[in-house]
């Protein structure tokens, strides 16, 4: 093993990390908003809302992300309407095309995760909230959403990890994130194994951090799913 080369490779690839994270977090943040909307459309009970959401989820889950990226990056520019619209300054940038593709893709998956979370909210808890006089908005904000988020968190953690990895596809439309830099370095050095080992390790570290963050969030949000801490059990009569 040529450790000096590995170290040099690490120094070459690390500058790609901010772009990888930026892509992932923009897509996850925008995608979550879209996903919540889609999940609520699915659960609205109204055909006119339910069906468009179904079709959307079907299309984006059933086609490869790479194809979606190509379609958006190479495809949209073919239409004069797109080129002359106010969106063109964004859509001609590979960065925004990648963010758009990743966002639309993660929204499809996340909407199903959210839908599962929302469906798992116990009906009795919703009924108790209604009986207490909560308006629909208050009930959603105080009871349904907090319970649903807790239910959805483990599955959503996987989606976050998938998104970090999915950003690697952005390299194919010229973005110099970690994988893009790796591909460039390989073209210069022909040392694919070392470079990809370093690139893979960077994703490993990023996802290790993401995993720990999700776990920490889970621990913080769901004390009621763990056995009662002994300290609390013994505070009898402390009132």
């Amino acid at each position: 093993m040529d450790f000096a080369f590995l170290y040099d490779t690490l120094l070459t690839l690390l500058p790609g990390v901010p772009l990888t994270l930026k892509l992932a977090f923009s897509a996850v943040a925008l995608g979550a908003v879209l996903a919540l909307g889609l999940a609520m459309m699915r659960l609205s009970g109204l055909r006119a809302l339910d069906w468009p959401a179904r079709v959307y989820v079907f299309l984006f889950r059933s086609t490869p992300l790479l194809v979606q990226i190509f379609l958006i990056y190479y495809g949209l520019g073919q239409f004069r309407e797109v080129r002359t619209s106010w969106l063109w300054p964004f859509l001609r940038e590979p960065y925004w095309c990648a963010v758009l593709a990743l966002t639309l893709n993660t929204a499809a998956y996340a909407s199903e995760i959210f839908r599962g979370g929302l469906l798992a909210v116990p009906h009795g808890q919703v009924e108790a909230a209604r009986a207490a006089g909560m308006s629909r908005g208050l009930l959603f904000r105080r009871i349904v959403l907090p319970v649903a988020i807790r239910q959805a968190l483990p599955a959503y953690g996987s989606e976050l990890i998938l998104m970090i990895k999915a950003t690697a596809l952005a390299s194919i439309i010229t973005l110099m994130e970690v994988t893009g830099l790796a591909a460039k370095l390989i073209a210069e050095t022909y040392r694919a194994i070392e470079v990809f080992i370093v690139a893979g390790s960077i994703y490993l570290v990023l996802n290790f951090v993401v995993t720990r963050l999700v776990l920490a969030a889970e621990r913080r949000l769901t004390p009621h799913l763990r056995p009662a801490p002994v300290a609390i059990l013994n505070d009898g009569g402390a009132a």
Binding site: P122, E127, A129, V147
Partner: protein
């Protein structure tokens, strides 16, 4: 009997599909009344209770809380409340206790109890907390205030649910089979709390199978059978002299 009744149901009707559950039920509960609602399963007693706070919407008839009639509008499938704000306002004055407790699982006992006072009734947090602590002490679970519902026994959960209902400062309290989901040895602690509430003069409507409670604590007993009121009156009267053959059969088990 000239005072406006706390709850008045007039000719209440409700169907689920082809099944007619309530076939014209009328009932009055006055301030301080403790009404036990008895009946075998399927008699419509829970549905009747749920119509009072519109968790079930009646298809016909009228619900009035302290004289205020809850507006209903016809729809294709039956009725719906005409004014959601009226329903929310009315619900916040009615405390409800469920068979399966239905505490909010992501909140501690104290958080459950202060939720409606703070977020629905917009009372100051400090005041809500102080009142909640007092209520929790009254129902005997002050030491559990920082526990999550999942960490409590059934009896403790139900007492927490009663505390949550009490914190709304309700004008009327509804109990939907509050002891039916409890292990036999836990029934007593919940009934004791309910008895103390009755002794305070609270207006309570209780769907129950606890004959002891109906006989000794309530001042009025209503027996529902197949969606109609088959017998009603003071417990002493109804239990000893009811002319209803059905009620006698029901009591005989």
């Amino acid at each position: 009997m000239t005072a406006v009744p706390a709850v008045r149901l007039t000719d209440l009707r409700k169907s689920f599909g082809p099944l007619e559950v309530l076939k014209g039920v009328s009932l009055e509960a006055h301030e301080g009344d403790v009404v036990s609602i008895l009946g075998s399963s399927g008699s419509g007693k829970s549905t009747m209770l749920r119509c009072i706070n519109m968790l079930a919407t009646p298809d016909g008839g009228e619900v009035a809380i302290r004289g205020e009639v809850i507006g209903l509008t016809p729809t294709r499938h039956g009725m719906r409340p005409a004014d959601r704000l009226q329903v929310d306002r009315m619900r916040s004055q009615i405390g409800m206790v469920f068979q399966s407790f239905n505490l909010w699982s992501h909140m501690t006992v104290l958080e459950n109890v202060i939720e409606a006072p703070i977020h629905v009734q917009k009372r100051p947090r400090a005041e809500a907390v102080a009142e909640a602590e007092a209520i929790l002490a009254k129902v005997g679970i002050a030491d559990k205030r920082n526990h999550y519902p999942a960490h409590l026994s059934g009896g403790q959960q139900q007492r927490a649910a009663i505390a949550r209902a009490l914190a709304q400062r309700p004008k009327v309290m509804l109990f939907d089979e509050p002891t039916s989901a409890l292990d036999p040895e836990l029934v007593g602690e919940v009934l004791r709390v309910m008895r103390s509430l009755a002794e305070e003069g609270r207006t309570m409507l209780v769907v129950t199978h606890e004959m002891g409670f109906a006989r000794d604590v309530s001042n009025k007993v209503v027996f529902l059978h197949k969606g109609v009121v088959e017998a009603q009156g003071a417990p002493g009267e109804v239990f000893t002299n009811s002319t209803s053959e059905r009620f006698r059969q029901f009591l005989a088990g």
